[in-house]
Symmetry: C2
Subunit: 352 residues, 2 copies
């Protein structure tokens, strides 16, 4: 098969980790007889510097003309302590999500047996953890009307959801649950918020279409607790944009393998794949960043965007082998030998 993949390296360590994911993807493509054409495009601070805009139209056009998007990371410290800066990398991120229609952010959290001791949680609490969050990504308080009144003394943000938005996200949740242990948890704050009541009643009404799926409804504060207490009691969780932002980040530290966690953002026309970690500016150019989360995001791309599970598995197997044999960057080296970003990439290529 032939694929065009938009390549959005972004800022900080983005370009370095993306480079490894490209090498590994090319190795997999070669092995299985596919042909990938990479279409590099600007985003984030890099795009602001080049064209004054974090998600330029040209980048959007390249994404829309591709079969998938592989994304590194964006964000630069010079914007960090200036939340009111006129143009910010994050705006590019939100604009990209909205314009590409990436309504479902898929965030798996799982443990690697050889890394259980990295977790801040006790081993018996996390063993067997294998959960997936589906976070709604193009609605809610992120995209509602916001502004000031009373000469700037009052600020407001509006959270809005339509039944159709909830349905399309929940549908993905039910479908995903059917491919796993058939357990779905809808996370909301229905005891306080009207939008949450809409979420809950919409999901409740969909239950009859998936009679095999066991659905539970939990309040976001209770989930924030139970995620730390018994993460392995969850399977698929669906939730709105802001709750998802908070809970997926909380969940990401549970396994102790944050540098390995991939994600996908699915739309109707296109999907984007990216590591959950940020642009890690302090590590830029040092050849120390862990490329595995980005490489596992490429595995998700083969599996979900191209429907090529064997290709994805080839990548996962190589990663597991690297972890077992200690071919890891310094974040996982634990006093042992630390390999460079490029060296880990090279090793994986030669083990595909």
């Amino acid at each position: 098969m032939k694929f065009n993949i938009a390549l959005l390296a972004g800022d900080g360590i983005g370009p370095e980790v993306i480079e490894q994911a490209v090498k590994v993807s090319d190795a997999v493509a070669k092995k299985f007889g596919h042909e990938i054409t990479w279409k590099p495009a600007l985003t984030g601070a890099a795009a602001i510097d080049a064209v004054g805009e974090p998600y330029p139209d040209e980048t959007h056009d390249i994404c829309m003309a591709s079969d998938a998007v592989l994304f590194g990371a964006i964000g630069h410290p010079r914007f960090d302590n200036d939340p009111s800066a006129k143009v910010r990398p994050e705006q590019g991120l939100l604009k990209m999500r909205k314009k590409l229609g990436l309504f479902a952010n898929v965030r798996p959290t799982f443990t690697f047996p050889s890394l259980l001791d990295k977790s801040p949680l006790k081993q018996e609490r996390i063993e067997g953890t294998d959960l997936v969050f589906l976070r709604e990504l193009t609605g809610g308080i992120y995209f509602g009307e916001k502004g000031r009144r009373d000469e700037g003394e009052t600020a407001f943000d509006n959270c809005v959801y339509t039944r159709a938005e909830v349905q399309r996200l929940a549908k993905k949740g039910f479908e995903l649950a059917m491919t796993r242990t058939k357990k779905l948890c809808c996370v909301d704050k229905a005891n306080v918020l009207e939008t949450s009541r809409l979420w809950r009643e919409t999901v409740q009404a969909m239950e009859k279409d998936y009679p095999e799926v066991e659905v539970s409804y939990e309040f976001v504060d209770a989930v924030a607790m139970r995620l730390v207490q018994w993460p392995n009691s969850y399977d698929v969780l669906i939730t709105e944009n802001l709750f998802g932002d908070i809970l997926t980040d909380e969940a990401s530290v549970i396994s102790g393998s944050m540098g390995l966690m991939p994600s996908a953002s699915m739309g109707t026309d296109i999907a984007l794949f990216e590591p959950i970690h940020g642009s890690y500016p302090q590590a830029t150019g040092l050849n120390i960043a862990n490329p595995m989360a980005t490489i596992l995001s490429a595995a998700m791309m083969f599996e979900t965007a191209f429907n090529l599970p064997e290709e994805g598995k080839a990548i996962r197997d190589a990663i597991n082998k690297a972890l077992t044999e200690g071919i890891v960057t310094e974040d996982l080296a634990d006093g042992g030998k630390a390999y460079g970003t490029k060296e880990v990439g090279d090793w994986l290529v030669s083990n595909i």
Copy 2:
């Protein structure tokens, strides 16, 4: 001194744990020569059953005429799977907070050395954890306009904050930080929300009035992570209502001593003290509920509402002694002897 204390026992285990806190408070009052008059009043499901309203006017009048409010817990399973029930115990809670003007919810999270092994987190991660959340409690998305449009197909919740609301909460935060290690963390989502930008600029403008306090600004998703990774890196945290709801619950499981965690909600005229745990309906009437969180809430009441630190310390000392000697309910008994709710209360009374 003479005090009138409104006593809102509420639902589930509320009455049982409140009974122990009353006994212990009376013992402390006797020891130090104070006189407490308790003013029982209805709330929650109990109030709905009696007068059809979870926070009756009569209860409000009793609270306003008192020097402090001691609160048990509310909530009843018969309302749980019916978020659209017309009258719900939670509405009483929100109405009470608003009418009493309880704008600052104070939630300490600390470790008890003898209970470190109860935590889901590894011991080295939590040792020395001693942090306090100040959660804004009468504003934000909880109290903004909410409703439906488009014949019920669209739901909305409005999040609103005024500069004055942020200032009065932040002032308490700075003052509390001055009595501790002078570290204050403002938790927001200023990269996305206008209300968060108002929070951040307001706190930034107040920094000059507290030159000794070192202030940091962190995004709510980052805090949700770091709370699990390094809870002992925080001291005082201030945040808005919904973020506070999620993060204080997350923080409460960190120490492993959730059944011991007290809280205070402060207003301009009156303050309310309550355990952070819920009404635990399954345990109702079984004499197994842990009364210590409620008793420690009474300690906070002596300390902060009545400015009587010695009295508070007498309670804390008795609790510490009980923990060391294993005079605990089954949640903490760990295979050893479990005492009943009443027996723990009696033991504390005789050790005041």
